[in-house]
């Protein structure tokens, strides 16, 4: 179920992150192809979030290579990496509570990001239509004028996914998107992510194995900062090492 | 041995000989006749070596030596007087004080030196040796020889040897001069340097050996200056440490920014003042300072606990508001003290055992109170470290800081821990106030001068690291004092502030940063 053959968009090799002697990532290697949808699972503390942090520039790796297309991500800061076309949804939905849902989407919209460009920014009818289109996709059309701070947890999850769509990135990093969603919403999310993949690459970190199964993609299992197993969901679920990690002894 | 006996004999001769007796009696009428005569009389008294001359010369120095209308010399004692020659009481009516000019003063200094060199009191002899050394007069050679022979205290002997060298240098004997130059070179003091420079100007043939000696002196002076700078820096560092330790708890550990911290330091100083006033006139008065330590701690801790429970706790998670609020509290405290105690400085007296100057090996001078502050700073630091590491409160405090919710579920009353921790940090500010009352003016704005520096120490050392605070305080103290001679105190401060800002560029979390996930929060 891997995407285009031999066209890696994200390339991690031998990546280690050490905090005060504690190895959060241990010689991790991972390749994501262009247009691929990939799920990452693993127990708590396996290094999933740290891996996201390394890719998005929040954490600098102690050792190893991190490349996005031809760019060396270890040399860039968060903003530059985001501008390259990597979007991230956080485990805990994070947005700007004082701004309305509309304004949150507007900020995420792909456009020049400098202070003067922002000062001169005029909302074009096309952009407004795009925002309204995304709002419809995430089911927030009726709440566009409300401040993000008053939205429910599920709506915030959706809003953040909407912001990700507005950013129009080549690679989406999605951390636990369905936490706090109803079954129906979860299904909708899986559907959405499957649709997005193909044009873009999507990496999903998730605990919910049913959801991962619904994604129907290649799965990477992380444990103690390293890759434990990789393959289809059925393959990894039957891998004895994975069973040992999840069930213990 | 032979020489020793000879010296003793000579000394005896000097002390008791009829010539000396005559010298004493003959010298008296000259006093106060004219400046010239007074000076020569003083010189005679000095040369006589007669101990009876000492009180007369001292009286002259103190301005209590009187000359009656009939030419008798009297020692004034308040309204009464005694005759200097006979010791009998005499009326002081109409007697005029003997006046001094510079020539008389210089004669008086060396004469006093001469007489005191043989005094039975060791401190008097030491002072006299210094005086004779400074006068650097060849006339004193014989006298110093005598004194040197009788002297038993090694430190005074050393002084006398230097004095002898200085005197010999002013003399005529070439070989003695050369030796004197070497001796003075070893002395490594600014006085020796001056004497050598004078000798060089007077006798060009000595230029070469004197230059050698001068280089030696300069080297040891530079060394001593460096050592003194270090000690001063250490002492400033301890002050900063004391002021910053409380912040390291409230800001570093709890994350509460308390701009009233400087005012807590000020309260500690005023508590010291209050304890001193309360104990004035009681047998406990000499112990006011040690007793002020717990008093200041408790008072500021109580104010801190009130501030935390009453105000700060409502602003947790809003650091900028906390900053402004506590700044306002600081203003109110300052103004309250200003109205209550007045704006002028209050004097806190150092107990006798903290006064005076201590001479460390190598001639490094250090005032006693600075030494005590360094010791106090280190002691408080160790106590704080121990308190956090080994007490129940310390454990609960660390638990609450790391994970408030889990600590609460384990039955720790987090509110109580917050209050106690904040009170502890505030109490430490009070301790800093006790220390500062010894070296700074106790005034309502005492704390303002220290608050920014203290924050810099905590930020520089690494927020949350007590060890970082220690290293940060001492480093900043020393850097400040090292820069001062070149840049002046004010610019040194400016440089340090700029340097810290640049330093934060490289290490945004300070010297001893917490790393990893805990630091992200």
């Amino acid at each position: 179920m891997s995407g285009g053959a031999g066209n890696p968009i994200l390339y991690l090799d031998g990546v280690s992150v050490v905090f005060d002697g504690f190895k959060a990532l241990n010689d991790l290697s991972l390749i994501v192809e262009a247009g691929e949808l990939r799920a990452i699972i693993g127990p708590n503390g396996a290094g999933k979030t740290t891996m996201m942090d390394v890719i998005t520039g929040k954490t600098r790796p102690t050792a190893g290579t991190v490349r996005f297309r031809e760019h060396d991500l270890t040399r860039l800061d968060e903003a530059a990496i985001a501008t390259l076309g990597i979007g991230r949804k956080f485990q805990k939905p994070t947005m700007f509570d004082a701004l309305t849902a509309f304004e949150n989407l507007e900020l995420a919209c792909k456009a020049p990001r400098g202070p003067l460009a922002c000062l001169r920014w005029v909302l074009s009818p096309a952009t407004r239509r795009r925002i309204e289109g995304v709002a419809e996709e995430i089911g927030l059309t009726s709440r566009l004028g409300d401040r993000a701070g008053v939205l429910s947890h599920g709506q915030r999850q959706w809003l953040e996914i909407g912001m990700l769509l507005m950013q129009d990135p080549e690679l989406l990093l999605v951390d636990e998107p369905v936490a706090g969603m109803t079954d129906q919403e979860t299904e909708h999310t899986a559907d959405l992510l499957r649709r997005i993949a193909g044009e873009r690459s999507v990496v999903v970190v998730e605990h919910d194995l049913e959801f991962v199964r619904a994604l129907g993609c290649k799965v990477t299992v992380l444990c103690e900062g390293a890759m434990l197993s990789e393959g289809s969901i059925d393959h990894v679920q039957n891998d004895p090492r994975v069973i040992e990690v999840y069930l213990g002894r | 041995m032979k020489r020793f006996l000879l010296s003793c004999f000579l000394a005896l001769l000097l002390m008791t000989s009829g010539r000396a007796q005559e010298g004493f009696v003959a010298a008296l009428p000259g006093l106060g006749a004219s400046f010239g005569e007074t000076a020569s009389a003083v010189e005679k008294l000095g040369a006589s070596g007669d101990p009876r001359g000492l009180p007369i010369l001292k009286a002259l120095q103190d301005g209590t030596l009187l000359r009656a209308g009939d030419g008798r010399i009297l020692l004034g004692q308040g309204n009464a007087a005694v005759d200097a020659a006979t010791g009998a009481a005499a009326p002081a009516d109409g007697a005029e004080p003997v006046r001094l000019n510079n020539r008389v003063r210089s004669a008086l200094r060396s004469a006093l030196g001469q007489l005191q060199l043989l005094s039975p009191d060791a401190t008097e002899r030491a002072a006299a040796a210094d005086a004779v050394f400074r006068s650097a007069s060849a006339e004193n050679i014989r006298l110093i020889d005598t004194a040197l022979a009788r002297e038993t205290v090694p430190a005074i002997k050393e002084k006398l040897r230097l004095a002898l060298a200085a005197a010999q240098l002013a003399g005529t004997e070439a070989e003695a001069k050369r030796q004197a130059i070497t001796t003075l070179g070893h002395a490594g003091s600014t006085e020796a340097r001056e004497i050598l420079l004078k000798a060089k100007a007077a006798d060009a043939s000595l230029a070469a050996p004197i230059d050698v000696a001068l280089t030696e002196i300069d080297r040891s002076l530079a060394y001593r200056r460096a050592a003194e700078t270090f000690v001063q820096g250490l002492s400033l560092g301890s002050v900063l440490l004391l002021a910053a330790l409380g912040l390291a708890i409230t800001f570093g550990v709890m994350g509460v920014i308390n701009m009233a911290h400087g005012e807590f330091v000020m309260l500690g100083a005023y508590a010291t003042f209050l304890v001193q006033e309360a104990l004035r006139g009681t047998p406990f008065a000499p112990w006011a300072l040690p007793l002020a330590i717990p008093a200041a701690f408790l008072i500021t801790a109580a104010v801190g606990a009130l501030l935390e429970r009453g105000f700060i706790r409502h602003l947790y998670g809003r650091p900028l508001e906390t900053l402004l609020m506590t700044f306002g509290v600081g203003m109110v405290l300052q103004q309250a003290i200003r109205l209550g105690f007045g704006a002028q400085n209050r004097e806190v007296i150092s107990p006798p055992w903290m006064q005076g100057t201590l001479l460390l090996p190598g001639g490094i001078a250090m005032t006693q109170n600075r030494l005590w502050i360094i010791l106090f700073g280190i002691l408080v630091f160790l106590l704080v470290v121990a308190a956090i590491r080994f007490t129940r409160l310390g454990l609960e405090m660390r638990a609450v800081v790391q994970n408030r919710r889990i600590a609460a579920t384990m039955g720790i009353r987090t509110g109580r821990v917050d209050a106690l921790t904040f009170a502890f940090g505030s109490g430490l500010a009070g301790l800093a106030g006790v220390a500062l009352s010894q070296i700074d003016n106790v005034s309502p704005n005492l704390g303002t001068g220290y608050i920014i520096d203290s924050f810099m120490v905590v930020v520089f050392g690494g927020v949350g690291s007590l060890f970082g605070t220690l290293v940060g305080a001492l480093t900043l103290g020393i850097i400040n004092k090292v820069l001062e001679p070149y840049a002046g105190a004010v610019l040194a401060k400016v440089f340090v502030l700029v340097a810290i800002m640049l330093f934060i560029q490289r290490r945004p979390r300070g010297l001893f940063a917490l790393k990893g996930r805990a630091a992200e929060a």
Partner: protein
């Protein structure tokens, strides 16, 4: 503010009322120097004192506006804005000193009195050009702007935020105060600059000069207000609010946070500098005391009292706190510091959105 939403009706009326109040306030402010010209026995006469103190407060209001732009919108709580204000003031002061010319005590044609006194032979290089008014006004903006650029660049680049930034800016103004107290800096040391004679050919002690300076200040206030409004209403304003509330999230959206913060910080410093430049000729003196950290933090409390994040609030705060100060320092001088300290406590604890928060029910930005 976005076109997508329709404002709630009550919010609309509250805003309209506020706008009308604002227009009335501006009108009254604009009338003061005119009323000052009325005969003294007229009921509408306004005293010289009111005009001169009004002009001073207007410059304070501009400073408050500058602080609010950085703090209320971008979350940069600068405790050193007094330094930018004072630097602008010093630039103007240097110009005014050059204009004294031979009227000084020593009558030196070029050197100000204090330089003659200190034995200067010629003007230090950094004094050159200050005899020209446009250059001095340019410097009143450029110097604070440059300082803000350097400090801001160092701080924002290494992601020094929140209270750390506040303390650093406080240290900055403290260091500048110490430096300006020194005689050898060439800025008049302790005494600073005073005894100004004229500006742009107007003798300073006249009603005419007072009125001109007053209107200049009012114009600066209105221009700054419009500029800040323009920023607040633009996407930049929303980026700044986003930075204030979740700085790192803004980075992950691809915005260079350092650039945005620098932009607003430098702009804010330049506005503060201009305010200082207009303040100095109206009070007739500038000295290193203006750099004292207490001044900066007092200006911050104006904004807090008025309501941070609201531009009108900042102006309202500057006027009301200074009115309280003027009244209290004449009635009961000892109480003023208690009142000011109390304001800090009361506003942060009980009125986090300031006076303006009392007007609008719903929380804006």
């Amino acid at each position: 503010m976005t076109p997508a939403e329709t404002p709630a009706p009550e919010r609309g009326t509250a805003r309209l009322a506020l706008r009308l109040l604002l227009m009335a306030a501006i009108l009254i402010l604009a009338m003061l120097p005119v009323l000052n010209q009325l005969p003294v026995d007229s009921a509408l006469h306004v005293s010289d004192f009111i005009v001169s103190i009004g002009g001073k407060w207007i410059t304070y209001a501009v400073l408050a506006l500058a602080i609010d732009l950085a703090w209320g919108y971008a979350g940069i709580l600068s405790l050193g804005h007094g330094a930018f204000f004072a630097l602008g003031g010093y630039a103007m002061g240097m110009h005014l000193m050059r204009l004294i010319g031979t009227r000084g005590v020593y009558g030196h044609p070029v050197l100000p009195d204090f330089m003659v006194f200190l034995g200067y032979k010629e003007l230090p290089w950094y004094w050159l050009g200050f005899e020209y008014f446009p250059y001095a006004m340019l410097m009143a903006m450029v110097v604070p702007g440059l300082l803000a650029l350097i400090i801001g660049f160092l701080a924002f680049r290494s992601r020094i935020t929140g209270v750390y930034l506040s303390i650093i800016t406080q240290a900055m103004t403290y260091a500048l105060m110490l430096a300006f107290f020194r005689n050898d800096m060439g800025f008049g040391g302790n005494n600073g600059f005073t005894d100004f004679k004229e500006l742009l050919g107007m003798p300073l002690q006249t009603a005419n000069a007072r009125a001109v300076l007053y209107y200049a200040s009012l114009a600066l206030l209105l221009v700054s207000l419009l500029l800040c409004w323009r920023i607040a209403a633009s996407k930049l304003g929303r980026v700044l609010v986003a930075i204030r509330d979740a700085e790192s999230r803004v980075r992950f959206l691809g915005y260079d946070v350092t650039q945005h913060k620098l932009f607003v910080f430098v702009l804010s410093a330049m506005i503060a500098g201009l305010a200082g430049a207009l303040y100095v000729p109206q009070v007739g003196i500038i000295n290193p005391g203006e750099f004292s950290p207490g001044n900066s933090i007092e200006a911050v409390i104006w904004v807090a009292v008025g309501g941070r994040g609201s531009l009108i609030g900042a102006i309202l705060g500057a006027f009301s706190v200074n009115a309280l100060k003027t009244w209290l320092t004449t009635v009961a001088p000892d109480l003023w510091l208690f009142a000011l300290g109390g304001l800090f406590v009361a506003v942060t604890l009980f009125l986090p959105r300031g006076l303006i928060g009392l007007f609008s029910r719903e929380k804006r930005a």
